[in-house]
């Protein structure tokens, strides 16, 4: 029997204090599309970086076509016929398609770069695999789907027979996904092996020949699309039953806390948000679902005043705040749990008490007049740490010393302790452990029952269904559906999110 294209045995990789991969086994047959699924943070990307030579495993062996290999750099992986398309494209905008493709493996004529033969080769590859693109365009002029094609061309140009695609559909619109899948089919028919990393189960079921599930750095099992369902895969990924919608009684009141009225945002000629109108009432959690990049980030920015809408109004407690500054809004009781906590929510090298006052620096007990109240801030921070179970040796340690879960609890704690009227939360439980997740959910529910209005923006469907009273779906800058989380199914939600049901 032909040896598998790729075989991984007992791969382990540890970072200081973390185990990213722990005993991963994987067998990928030649000429198949093999999907690797797992939640955010399950260790998929680390695994692929190991296979591509970007990181060395601490333990375990890698076999390519039955022969054991040891990669010290991507160069070795490329030489072994492995190519990778990163989720965040590795392209230089200011270089042409041709330059991006041949970089590192340039055809030469004498000392010069042989553009003519490079061009011919790229055109030929593009035609063979149905990915036609002008080699002399600057990459900055290309759209997302085209950029992805350049990435794949890059890999094929190097003669890769094994293609790793890291979350390739995350940035694509549905039509582009279809095009990508067509290309993958073409590749497969010509004997190329594709490893497809994703957490989108419907896509995996559609394109893959085999599916391996990874959870918490371990392989849970390998299956085939015909032998499984999305629900089963999801259970394998999560490891237990999906969370049920909150069955406690509704606390939704009639008082509208936040209202958006025809909010539109245009950026460089593109309509990013298109006439969004919505209301969040006191005691209500409104969830916004959608594939990332459909205007959610900008919507949050507009509500916080980080960006001004092109037209439309934002009202807080009935008052028009469209022109108000971010500082003013925060002081009026708008709490914010950012999706990317390290980038938007923390001062990593600063002590915890300074982190606890971020966004509340004008308010008692953190400041008095123009002065910072250090003692007050420390006392309040210690209180937050206690109430919200932030595990830390003290309030003077820098935030980067805390684990991700504790950082998140600190952020949730600081926003909750300020008793906001409106909480804007983006992915509040992203990347934190189950215990911390449960704690955060409990706190959100408690605050809601006291009349807090919450706008929850998340890509995590379980979280949305588990917490929301009302679910809105955003697609291409518009609210395309309002759903009841008690009755909605992930499939239904998914079809709105991908525009299939619009």
């Amino acid at each position: 029997m032909e040896p598998p294209a790729v075989e991984l045995r007992g791969i382990a990789k540890r970072f200081p204090g973390v185990i990213a991969n722990d005993d991963v086994d994987l067998v990928v047959r030649t000429g198949e599309v093999h999907a690797i699924v797992g939640e955010n943070g399950a260790g998929k990307s680390t695994l692929m970086k190991i296979l591509y030579g970007m990181q060395a495993p601490d333990e375990g062996t890698i076999l390519v076509d039955g022969a054991e290999v040891s990669f010290r750099s991507p160069k070795d992986a490329i030489a072994a016929g492995i190519g990778m398309v990163h989720q965040h494209f590795m392209l230089a905008d200011n270089l042409t398609v041709l330059e991006n493709v041949v970089l590192g493996l340039e055809p030469k004529r004498g000392l010069a770069l042989d553009r003519a033969s490079a061009r011919a080769r790229i055109v030929e590859l593009g035609e063979r695999y149905g990915m036609v693109i002008d080699p002399d365009t600057l990459v900055e002029h290309l759209g997302v789907g085209e950029r992805q094609r350049v990435e794949i061309l890059k890999v094929l140009y190097r003669g890769a027979r094994i293609l790793i695609l890291d979350e390739p559909t995350a940035v694509l619109v549905p039509q582009e996904v279809e095009e990508l899948f067509a290309s993958l089919a073409e590749l497969k028919s010509q004997g190329v092996t594709v490893i497809f990393i994703s957490h989108k189960l419907d896509e995996v079921l559609q394109i893959a020949d085999s599916i391996t599930v990874i959870r918490a750095g371990r392989t849970v099992g390998t299956t085939e699309p015909a032998a499984t369902t999305a629900r089963e895969l999801a259970e394998m990924m999560v490891g237990s039953e999906l969370p049920k919608p909150d069955t406690q009684g509704s606390t939704v009141t009639e008082t509208v806390e936040l209202e958006l009225d025809g909010v539109t945002l245009e950026e460089t000629g593109r309509t990013v948000i298109d006439g969004v109108s919505m209301r969040v009432r006191r005691g209500e959690v409104v969830g916004i679902a959608g594939v990332e990049g459909n205007g959610q980030t900008e919507l949050v920015d507009i509500i916080l005043g980080l960006q001004a809408p092109t037209s439309g109004r934002v009202l807080l407690g009935g008052e028009d705040i469209t022109q108000a500054s971010t500082r003013w809004r925060r002081n009026q009781g708008v709490g914010y749990i950012p999706a990317d906590r390290q980038r938007h929510g923390l001062l990593l090298p600063s002590p915890l008490w300074e982190n606890a006052m971020l966004g509340h620096q004008d308010v008692v007990p953190f400041s008095r007049g123009p002065w910072v109240n250090r003692r007050g801030a420390r006392v309040r921070t210690a209180q937050i740490a206690e109430d919200f179970d932030v595990r830390t040796p003290g309030v003077d340690v820098p935030a980067h010393a805390l684990s991700g879960g504790n950082q998140q609890k600190l952020i949730v704690g600081r926003e909750m302790a300020a008793e906001p009227k409106l909480l804007v939360a983006g992915h509040p439980t992203r990347g934190i452990d189950v215990g911390a997740q449960a704690a955060v959910w409990t706190q959100l529910r408690e605050a809601r029952s006291k009349g807090l209005a919450v706008l929850l923006v998340s890509a995590d469907l379980e979280e949305l269904i588990g917490l929301s009273d009302t679910l809105l779906v955003m697609y291409r800058g518009r609210i395309v559906a309002e759903l009841d989380p008690q009755t909605v199914t992930p499939q239904e939600l998914g079809s709105y999110m991908t525009g299939a049901a619009a």
Binding site: M90, A92, D93, N94, L95, L111, L113, T268, E292, T297
Partner: protein, 429 residues
């Protein structure tokens, strides 16, 4: 700041690199025609004389070399504000080499001195991840300190005319050539006619001015200038038409992409930054050998920073840098040669700005059109109401020009995308 990056930029400004050169030529052509008209109107013959252009080249070459130095560093992603220090090292080593061995050895040692500065910058920024600006400032201090220290060690009390702040006089035996037939050079002892010089002396509108420009380029041209000018097309060829050049640029655009394709980014950055220093060092040697004929403390006079200005003005392209250096060198030449020609330059600026304003208004960019129009009117009034321009103004013309370009044309500037950003191997997501 939290928004996702826009997908699919509109392809309105989709100018290909290929079209750039003609555009640069059109601009130069327009400039010469305008200069010619101004020359006639303001009766300032020196504005376009061969002597002025020749001086512009002599003064522009160090700026050009510093600018090209900046280009190589920034194209591989390292900001180099240490150019001034590398230029200083070039002057010192150039003079020392010329004193000890001879002019061409001086050139080589000047290149070596600058490259040494580049090496230090590379070690600090690339290997140790020091902030590029901090390292650049340190190299400027270091360059000045080292030059002084070495001068004291080498020349004080040696009775050769050198001292702590200057070298002994150097003998320059680098040939100067006049191109035969065009600028009256000789072939086998026969003096050919100086055709361009003749035409230039007729003072015909445009034709004589172009002849003056070309005469400046072809007459009394030192071999060293010739080498320096050749470096412009050489840089284009190297950076855009060789595999190594592509790799070097990729390190400045997206080092992690380059790394993922097996390019040794560290090596590219070392190459770029050391080349940068070498070019600046050559510029320093040029100052000594073609300028003063001696090393003198403070001789560089901030030309490293003007080189940086030329780099920005030239939009990080060799031809652009050459245009910037030519322009700044020209301004410098007029300052030194002829004050009334400087005054005529006001009219030039006024007319050029007026034309630009008209074009902008025609293009419906009213705001910028109005701003530029106001500038045109301002310069026009200045021209009419004054007889001279304080010569100091020309010293900082390059800097003000650069600030204006940065303030009003940022969207047209395209510095390398990863310019100045720290890079660690394996540090990408």
């Amino acid at each position: 700041m939290t928004t996702v990056s826009g997908t699919g930029t509109p392809a309105v400004h989709a100018a290909r690199p290929k079209r750039k050169l003609p555009r640069a030529m059109i601009l130069v052509g327009l400039g010469v025609i305008l200069l010619s008209i101004v020359r006639v109107v303001a009766d300032a013959d020196d504005l376009t004389s061969a002597g002025s252009f020749s001086a512009a080249i002599r003064l522009g070459v160090p700026i050009l070399l510093a600018g090209l130095g900046g280009l190589f560093a920034e194209r591989c992603g390292v900001v180099n504000i240490g150019l001034e220090g590398m230029l200083i090292l070039g002057t010192w080593f150039g003079a020392w080499g010329a004193v000890e061995f001879g002019a061409w050895e001086g050139v080589l040692l000047g290149i070596f001195g600058g490259a040494l500065g580049g090496l230090i910058h590379a070690v600090a920024t690339v290997t140790f991840g020091v902030d590029h600006i901090v390292s650049g400032v340190a190299i400027n201090i270091l360059g000045a300190g080292m030059a002084r220290y070495l001068s004291v060690v080498s020349w004080v009390g040696k009775g050769t005319g050198g001292g702590a702040t200057q070298s002994p006089k150097v003998t320059v035996d680098i040939a100067k050539v006049d191109v035969p037939f065009l600028a009256g050079g000789s072939i086998f002892g026969w003096d050919t006619p100086d055709v361009l010089g003749r035409i230039a002396s007729w003072r015909w509108v445009v034709i004589s001015d172009v002849a003056g420009l070309l005469r400046g380029l072809t007459g009394n041209l030192s071999l060293l200038s010739f080498v320096a000018l050749l470096l412009v097309p050489a840089s284009v060829l190297f950076l855009w038409h060789t595999p190594l050049g592509l790799r070097l640029r990729s390190a400045g655009e997206n080092p992690y992409a380059a790394e993922s394709l097996g390019v040794n980014v560290y090596r590219m950055k070392y190459l770029g930054v050391i080349t940068s220093g070498a070019l600046a060092g050559l510029g320093g040697a040029f100052l000594v050998l073609e300028g003063a004929g001696i090393y003198r403390e403070g001789q560089t006079g901030g030309r490293g920073f003007i080189g940086l200005a030329a780099l920005i003005f030239g939009n990080w392209r060799p031809t652009g840098v050459a245009m910037g250096a030519g322009l700044f060198g020209f301004a410098d030449a007029l300052r030194l040669r002829n004050e009334s020609a400087v005054h005529a330059l006001l009219l030039f600026v006024a007319v050029a700005a007026a034309l630009a304003a008209l074009w902008l208004l025609f293009d419906r960019r009213y705001r910028y059109g109005a701003v530029i129009g106001a500038i045109a009117v301002g310069f026009g009034i200045w021209y009419v109401t004054s007889d001279t321009v304080p010569r100091q103004f020309l010293s900082f013309t390059p800097h003000i020009t650069t600030l204006l370009v940065l303030a009003f044309a940022t969207q047209r500037l395209r510095p390398p995308a990863a310019d100045g950003l720290p890079y660690r191997k394996g540090g990408g997501t």
